[in-house]
């Protein structure tokens, strides 16, 4: 790659309006920080809620992510899209929180064979109940629960990659940067995630064609 092309690539991030906002935050512009919070709050909380299943904990973690952005403002260098940087912070926070939750579960649930991300007892019941239902058409509420449970069967990294891919419309390169992985690793991760999801949801596909698409 020529140095001129490299220079153009570097400057490409500067065209991201959120990078521009973050550069203003770097100069202690609090209003710009407020704009970033407004722009990303629902997106961050959405990802954290899918990962933690706890909206209050998701808000706490989202706030922590924003605080970390603010604390790091003076050392901010635009080397990627702002969203990629923010979701990298989010991914680190989510990973740490899940690890901490899994340690707590290991202590409180010693003796059971349910893994750290294993289903809760009431979810097992729901799964068994739902498992009897593919033959009939589930209503949207029931189907939503089935989809949520299917998402929970993915491991943490598959789930995060899938959520960034689906809801943040991130490219493989951006997911790789957010999750500190190679592009090839993201490709494999997403393939396994999509394949696992298909295995889980295949029995429910009949009659769902008009349901999923927005």
């Amino acid at each position: 790659m020529s140095s001129a092309t490299h220079q153009i690539d570097q400057n490409a991030w500067l065209r991201d309006p959120d990078v521009q906002r973050m550069l203003r935050v770097r100069d202690d512009d609090e209003a710009a920080f407020g704009e970033l919070v407004e722009a990303y709050q629902n997106r961050l909380i959405g990802i954290f809620t899918h990962v933690l299943h706890d909206s209050a904990a998701a808000e706490d973690l989202a706030q922590e992510a924003f605080l970390r952005v603010y604390r790091a403002r003076h050392r901010y260098q635009p080397t990627a899209k702002f969203a990629t940087w923010l979701f990298r912070i989010a991914n680190n926070l989510a990973t740490n929180r899940l690890r901490s939750l899994s340690r707590r579960k290991e202590v409180s649930m010693k003796g059971t064979d349910s893994g750290p991300m294993g289903a809760r007892p009431e979810e097992n019941l729901a799964t068994e109940k739902s498992a009897l239902m593919p033959a009939r058409q589930l209503d949207n509420q029931e189907m939503r629960e089935v989809v949520r449970q299917s998402l929970d069967t993915l491991n943490d990294r598959q789930r995060m990659a899938l959520l960034l891919n689906k809801f943040e419309h991130m490219s493989y390169a951006d997911i790789a940067a957010s999750m500190d992985l190679t592009v090839q690793a993201v490709k494999s991760l997403l393939t396994r995630a999509r394949e696992n999801l298909r295995l889980q949801l295949e029995p429910y596909l009949t009659g769902s064609s008009d349901r999923g698409s927005k």
Binding site: A65, N92, L151, F167, Y172, K187
Partner: protein
């Protein structure tokens, strides 16, 4: 091409991540192979089902609370241990956590050992002199005031030669 590779290509094709040449290959197989068409259809439908998941909304005042938090934080003195750049923060593994805990315990033990040794030495030494030396010099110490009044070593030697101290040396035998 392996089955896993084919699946990767299909998923990457659906995500628009395949280079043109590979995308053309997938499109050709879509025309020629009903199984590939079925795979693509199922992958697409299951992916679309994720749209059923509820969208989350921040609670009222979330942004304001966050801004208040940064104002509060800015007005507080920054703790030295604060790690600003979360982007480089790595989650600690269980192993490294355990190693850290044991390291702290070992350091605390060594610290206690050092304090105990220092205290022992302090109790049994004075100005760096061992206690044995103090015991040997005890008779001198006991008469130090008298010796200081003499204030003349030559005179003291003369007294010693005169046999004045012989009486003291003989005393224990009496």
């Amino acid at each position: 091409m392996s089955s896993d590779k084919k699946k990767e290509e299909l998923v990457a094709y659906l995500d628009g991540e395949l280079p043109d040449e590979a995308a053309s290959r997938v499109e050709k197989s879509l025309v020629d192979d009903a199984a590939v068409r079925r795979d693509v259809e199922q992958l697409t439908k299951t992916f679309d089902l994720l749209d059923l998941l509820p969208a989350s909304q921040a609670s009222d005042g979330f942004a304001e609370k966050t801004l208040t938090a940064i104002r509060t934080q800015s007005s507080e003195p920054k703790p030295e241990s604060t790690k600003d750049d979360a982007s480089v923060e790595k989650p600690q593994s269980n192993y490294s956590l355990r190693a850290t805990v044991w390291g702290i315990r070992a350091a605390a033990f060594l610290g206690l050992l050092f304090v105990a040794t220092t205290a022992f030495n302090g109790a049994f030494k004075q100005n760096g002199e061992p206690i044995d030396e103090l015991l040997t010099e005890l008779p001198v110490i006991q008469r130090l005031d008298e010796y200081q009044e003499v204030d003349n070593v030559q005179f003291l030697k003369a007294l010693s030669e005169s046999g004045l101290f012989d009486e003291r040396d003989k005393a224990p035998q009496d």
